[in-house]
């Protein structure tokens, strides 16, 4: 007997999407002077809203508003008072959590189960966590009286729009900085709803400013001479450009960039748990995760068995409507990203790897890509070297732990890695040798505001989260 799932859609009625949005500057929504653009629901390609595009002059206004707020209000304010604003924001995020989750899923394409259970709770937790630091900075290990840097220009990606906003804004504000934040072009809506939350919290005008736009707006912000600190999450290529443009200036920089994480399964691993971890590692958020476990390294003796169980598990993944509470894998965020995933998957086949996806009916409208695993992958293949940022897993094998570590580290990236084994000493031996900033052992894709996150090598520098996350926003 087969039990079929009935659709269980979350209602979109809870969120009121306005037909058009301006820029949030100095506590007010204002017009942008660039050509407005549209944000699209990637699950059905409908236009959600028209969004103002900030040109250089708009960015300049936002930086000036942030500067004024820094000098007159937020910088001089006692940490205990800043803390209370951040606690207020955390509470309002909780109060409006369903609205935020639905809006995130509509704008981004991620399953409501993830936006509701992962993204939004972590957003609230992040503000709550950093709120508590605001009046304890002298105890953080950066000197007795560390000072804020000033105005932070923050540029975030489209994969976790509101969560990346929280990772950027919460520590910046706790340390006494003011911010100008640019959300990604394809996912601006939750940031604009967050602007409303700032107003409900009575956050002083200019402490948080949000400028929408594409790469040009981001460049104008990163290169603005009035910005003291640039925090960027996104591709390694853009990170490089920002690092170059900051050369010769006094700007401080933190960069959280790409990854190509190895997820290592040793022969003694609890295989069903490992399969769950592998699936979570690459199909969580459609694989739009910089720390995704996109390279599966399996010890040869269990490779066949693991692959079989993995395929069985992949066949149960439900791909479709992001607002359906049963959905495991939602929509690819944009047509451009879908084209990139297709191109790399095609390259995988062309280079000789074997491609497999479960039978999977994809909706006729919108941007979709079936969960995919490649076997017979060589380290030289593009699918083993390049960040795909999609639900595409490349499986390689190894014989010895040394070989696993060597292969895992054979990448210019170093953001994250996974280890699956029942032997404690092997976990620690492997974790010590992996050149990656976050190592998940017998788990994967776990995040917490108290846990520092960030990469080695070309995955960037600086840490977000925990005590370490304060350093990038303090003049220690």
């Amino acid at each position: 007997m087969v039990f079929e799932y009935a659709p269980a859609p979350e209602s979109a009625a809870i969120v009121d999407v306005r037909p058009s949005y301006g820029l949030f500057v100095g506590g007010e929504f204002t017009d942008g002077h660039g050509e407005p653009f549209k944000s699209v629901n990637p699950a059905d390609e409908t236009v959600l809203a028209e969004i103002a595009r900030a040109d250089e002059g708009d960015v300049d206004r936002a930086v000036a508003a942030a500067r004024t707020a820094f000098e007159r209000v937020w910088g001089p304010m006692p940490g205990a008072e800043r803390a209370k604003y951040l606690y207020r924001i955390a509470r309002i995020v909780q109060e409006r959590s369903r609205e935020l989750a639905v809006l995130e899923s509509i704008d981004n394409g991620k399953p409501i189960r993830e936006s509701r259970d992962v993204d939004v709770p972590l957003v609230a937790a992040h503000f709550f966590y950093y709120a508590g630091w605001a009046d304890k900075l002298g105890h953080a290990g950066f000197g007795p009286d560390p000072r804020p840097l000033g105005v932070a220009g923050q540029i975030i990606p489209w994969n976790f729009p509101l969560l990346m906003l929280a990772w950027k804004i919460a520590p910046a504000l706790a340390c006494g900085n003011t911010v100008v934040l640019k959300p990604a072009e394809t996912t601006p809506l939750t940031a604009l709803l967050f602007a409303d939350i700032c107003r409900q919290a009575d956050l002083p005008p200019g402490v948080v400013n949000i400028v929408t736009g594409a790469g040009d707006t981001g460049r104008a912000l990163a290169e603005h001479p009035g910005v003291d600190k640039v925090a960027f999450t996104g591709s390694t290529d853009v990170g490089r450009q920002i690092a170059r443009s900051a050369a010769g200036t006094a700007k401080r920089l933190t960069l959280e960039l790409g990854g190509k994480a190895a997820n290592i399964v040793f022969e003694d691993a609890a295989l069903d748990q490992a399969v769950e971890g592998v699936v979570n590692g690459i199909f969580f958020n459609q694989g739009h995760v910089c720390c995704a476990g996109s390279r599966l390294l399996v010890q040869e003796s269990v490779a066949e068995e693991l692959l079989e169980r993995l395929k069985t598990r992949m066949a149960t993944l439900r791909v479709g409507d992001p607002l359906d509470k049963n959905t495991d894998v939602g929509a690819i965020n944009s047509a451009a990203q879908l084209a990139r995933i297709r191109e790399l998957a095609d390259a995988g086949e062309a280079e000789g790897a074997e491609r497999w996806s479960p039978p999977c009916e994809l909706p006729p409208q919108g941007f979709w890509f079936a969960p995919t695993v490649f076997t017979g992958v060589a380290q030289s293949h593009r699918i083993a070297r390049e960040e795909i940022f999609g639900p595409v897993l490349s499986m390689l094998t190894f014989r010895t732990p040394e070989e696993a570590v060597t292969k895992a580290n054979n990448t210019p990236y170093g953001l994250s890695a996974g280890i699956w084994t029942e032997k404690g000493s092997r976990i620690l031996w492997t974790a010590q040798r992996l050149r990656a900033g976050v190592v998940w052992a017998n788990t994967f894709n776990k995040f917490d505001p108290a846990s520092p996150f960030g990469g080695y090598k070309e995955s960037g520098f600086g840490r977000e989260g925990g005590r370490h996350g304060l350093e990038g926003y303090l003049d220690a």
């Binding site: 690092a243 900033g437 017998n442 108290a450 846990s451 520092p452 080695y456 005590r467």
Partner: protein, 284 residues
Amino acid sequence: MPDRLSVRKTYKLYIGGAFPRSESGRSYPVADPKGNFVANASQASRKDVRDAVVAARKAFGGWSARTAYNRAQILYRVAEMLEGRRAQFVDELRQAGASKSQAAAETDAAVDRWVWYAGWADKLAAVTGSANPVSGPFFNFSTPEPTGVVAVLAPDSPLLGLVSTVAPAIVSGNTAVVVASEPAPLAAVTLAEVLATSDLPGGVVNILTGRRAELAPWLASHLDVNAIDLTGVADDQEKALREAAAENLKRVLRTAPGGWDAVPGTERMTAFLEVKTVWHPMGI
């Protein structure tokens, strides 16, 4: 006329634990402040830079895997050897223009500075790491690790500035390629002799002498260098070097030159550390 003719030292490079001349065959005269010839120093080339990076990379695995206690022991041994060569350093600093008392004071300070950093080896993790109280049944800890190969453009303070930039780079397990002071490189070569007799594995510190402006760009753009200390470069070169360093997202440190007398903070060590966070579930 002296009773006997002294045997002069040939000042060479220090790469992978050996003392080669520059493969380019070049040298440059080092003079005292009055312009009198003191010695010829090797003038390292791009190829020497690459050889030094290869040696540093080769040494990284072993050095970073040593226990922190063992690194502390070896660095303390370096200080012992420095102390034993005190007279030689004083002479070389005097040739570089210091008075007798200045030279003695700088040598003493350099030895003491090295001892100070040696003691950090097994304390950095306690000071910069953490156990993180995450919201779930996980043990989660963060620990510092060396970033890899660090290029050090040492300042012109011939000994104190040199040890104040080299010791913090290697104490945590990094390996280093050091470009010594261009006008006053001799103490750096003598430091290399100290390192070579201190149980420090070959390749952990590699010391080049030569034209800073010629060597710095090769280090800044080298894709197997993880971090660069620009303290010793001229202001007008900083921007171009930072741009080159962006290619593989090197960690870049540049502190204002001078001020080597004060007891340092941890900044020169933490600049070349990565923080690794490890998660594991708790359960039965």
